[in-house]
């Protein structure tokens, strides 16, 4: 890759060389121009635009008329009336969150993480779980926008439910499918196929699959002597239903990545271990598992990034219901912007979600570059 950075050779030379350098510059920027123009205008600029819009009261119907309101949109998102800090607020989640300090500490100790980076992470964890989550409206107060926290909480819940399940299933199926042969190839194709469906086909199939009267899942429950669940209208079962549909839809993607990771493990390690008398389990435990650690981290990070952006499945299947049980962040942003016409507020929320996701994107980015 270092060769990419070779600066034009002709700089020091005479007229001919410098003419060639000029022509190289022209050609380089020329070939880059179409991509760069669209990249700057439609990918980079909107980020700054969103940050700026977040400070305005901006109505979709009268775009030209905007009022600067400073941090009001952010206050509305994060704050409420009669706010108080207590040790007990969301205690379970906060204690669970603080346990993240253990892996961070271990990672610093084993030098997988730089000291400064680890410290920043630790401070972040303490300030989120130790401090920030202690704030809540007291008995006679309320959140300015309770829907914001409700939908963000649901998004996090979806991430926490779906990530281990989809990554775990992907790993198990990849291990099972990692053998030569035509028939295994066919099976791989079958498991992967749902991934190419669009989200509205997914919801079309699963809304009816899970329908207690019309669907196959209900029939299965009845034949087992169980009462069919009306998944999508139950506050408890609606989110698991979305997770199940998403698992079916996307597990193939993770299978592909894990299979690629398995292919990368040096075969000679297995042979050497076999000669040393290692059994099936020993080879799995001491070669396969460590060999897959990079892939597992990558798949997990990709899964988290994808899960934070969940929208289509819930929007089409449940509209966020019942009673907000499956309402997610993107839906709240979408409806604030395009139903309630408050583009400024929607932008501020986009910035927040963006910052949450950027953390995971940075991890992925560094992994991509490390292969570079």
């Amino acid at each position: 890759m270092a060769s990419l950075y070779n600066v034009s050779k002709g700089r020091k030379g005479g007229g001919l060389a410098s003419r060639e350098a000029r022509s190289s510059n022209l050609a380089g920027w020329g070939f880059l121009a179409p991509f760069l123009a669209i990249y700057a205008a439609l990918l980079v600029y909107p980020i700054f635009q969103a940050i700026s819009m977040g400070f305005y009261d901006l109505d979709l119907l009268v775009i030209s008329d905007r009022t600067w309101i400073g941090f009001d949109n952010y206050v509305r998102m994060f704050w409420g009336t009669e706010m108080a800090w207590t040790l007990e607020n969301m205690a379970d989640w906060r204690i669970a969150g603080l346990f993240l300090l253990i892996p961070i500490g271990l990672a610093i100790k084993s030098k997988k993480l730089g000291f400064v980076e680890g410290l920043v992470l630790a401070v972040l964890v303490v300030s989120i779980f130790g401090v920030a989550m202690g704030f809540a409206p007291s008995a006679d107060g309320r959140w300015f926008d309770s829907q914001f926290w409700l939908s963000f909480g649901n998004t996090v819940l979806f991430v926490l439910l779906s990530t281990p399940l989809i990554v775990g299933f992907g790993l198990l199926l990849a291990l099972a499918l990692n053998r030569p042969g035509k028939w295994t190839g066919v099976l791989r194709t079958l498991f992967f196929a749902p991934f190419v469906l669009s989200v509205s086909v997914l919801t079309l199939i699963w809304a009816f699959m899970l329908n207690p009267q019309l669907g196959l899942v209900g029939t299965l429950f009845e034949s087992l002597g169980l009462e069919p669940i009306s998944w999508l209208t139950s506050p408890i079962w609606a989110m698991p239903a979305v997770v199940i549909a998403t698992l079916w839809w996307t597990v193939g993607f993770n299978i592909v990545l894990f299979l690629a990771g398995l292919q990368d493990i040096d075969k000679s390690l297995y042979e050497a271990a076999e000669i040393d008398g290692a059994g099936r389990w020993g080879r799995f435990r001491f070669i396969t598992i460590p060999g897959l650690s990079r892939t597992t981290l990558l798949v997990t990070v990709l899964q988290v990034i994808a899960s934070f952006q969940i929208f289509g499945q819930v929007y089409i299947m449940t509209r966020g219901g019942p009673n907000g049980a499956t309402r997610v962040s993107i839906q709240h942003i979408y409806e604030s912007g395009f139903r309630d016409l408050e583009l400024g507020y929607a932008s501020a929320m986009s910035v927040f979600l963006f910052l949450v996701m950027v953390f995971f994107s940075v991890v992925q980015f560094r992994m991509v570059r490390s292969r570079d």
Binding site: V7, S24, I47, T184, A193, V196, L197, V201, G215, F311
Partner: protein, 288 residues
Amino acid sequence: MSSLEIQSNSRRIRPKQLRSIIFLSFLSFAAAVWMIPLIWMFSLSLSSNEALKSDTTSILPVDLTFENLLGVLEGGQTGQWLFNSVVVTGLTTLGTLLFAAMAGFAFARIPFAGKKVVYPLVLAGLMVPREAMFVPLFLMFAEAELHNTYEALILPRVALPLGVFIMTQFMAAIPSEIEEAARVDGASRWGVFWRIMLPMSAPALTALGIFTYILTWNDFLWPLVSATQREMFTITTGLASLQGNFAQATELGSLMARGVFASLPLIVLFLIFQKHLVRGISLGSGNK
């Protein structure tokens, strides 16, 4: 070991083989279960709406008919939506490939001033989540009065930093002798790019292309926000607009037939280009 090898010629099934057969049967059963929802959609689309009023839980078509599938092409806007999807997805894929290849060629093959600065800036774009910035993007296209046009559906998707990254890496690995020989023969830079580098990058282009095609065809949020007039819907947003309304359940067969039309092009492409897609996913996620 040697005794096992001798045995392998005998007809008796050895324990290892037996275990393998049991394992594969179990896995095949799981794959069959995995396919049931998809098969169900196909068989509902082949069943008459009348028959579906009494029974929707058969995995095989009840009262086989092609009426639903033919009906999709005759009435309604599904045909228009499919056409929109084909146009938008096709042009987005072509644009993405061309611009990514050109940028990759510049980064991998042309020494120009400023490269050291621009390349990391382009790679930083890998960190921008796809769905995050639809609100400011909406405002920009609203101010340009471009909503409900193909341009609005295509332009935000054609600058793919991931594509540039993949093409740069691929082109940097092509031996430079071929390029130099062509230049000695008097080929222009564009000639080198178009007649030599592009054809030699076919494997990367195919993988990136099929990956982009599937992602774009299945794009939901941006078309939902930008194309609000029914005749500008893509098949993905159009199909979504038909759901959620349980009155549609009386026409379940027709609804499922629309689902079949929305997925068939992708399933066919997937079966043809499967290997490339798998490669595209590995490349695209930074796994390889």
